[in-house]
Amino acid sequence: MIRKNARIISEVKDDTLLAAIVGEIDHHGAFALRDELDDAMISARPKLVELDLSNVDFMDSSGLGVIMGRKSTADRIGAAFKLINPTTRVARIIELAGLGKVVTIEYRTTRKGTEDEK
């Protein structure tokens, strides 16, 4: 069994789907991420999808495809879409592709709804 190089931790709260990608995003893992994220979005039908990239150790341009594709899924189900806390490396690739012009990127010091923020 070949290991997966990324996993998703997701939760739905107040019409928001928060999905955090943990690990590496490349072409090898992109299909599994796409399917898992789309399934989560379609079953939860949220009003807002937040894709947390703070725990992405590596991302190449395959990750851009994953992000653009999930933005399209969010558009299809009528949900708003945000990227949360991309790492410096990930932000550099997003910037290079000009993705920041079409996707909202939000930097937070605490996770929404945690004790720290209250």
Binding site: I2, D26, D60, M68, I93
Partner: protein, 147 residues
Amino acid sequence: MKSNCINKMSLTLPALSVNEGVGRAMVSAFCAQLNPTIEEIADIKCAVSEAITNCIVHAYREKQGEIYITVKIFDCRTVKIEIKDKGCGIEDTELVKTPLYTTDSSGERSGMGFSVMESFMDKLTLKSVPGKYTKVTLAKKLSPLEL
């Protein structure tokens, strides 16, 4: 001043997507002997990952084949990486380097692979003969060692 190759690694990997991670990890581990910065090693890993992915997705079109990787390091702190496949080849080597250009219609490929390679490395050379091979050569000069 002429630079000398001080070490060399050759690696052949089957064109399997799992080898994207294997290939970039092995190349970056080999380059680590020059004490690159974290940023430099991350640049190399990303560029190598792009080139290997192109071999798997475009050259061999997810079918069997082999990827030939050679890494040379020079005493002037330059890293030179060749990534070659014997896949379908590229008709127009300038067109494929255009940002956002992709032959993929699924919407899941960004067409940014060559832009990432060009942006993260100092030099990129692309040679291809349709039906024969494609070879990407990436070079990066590492920053001077801080003593």
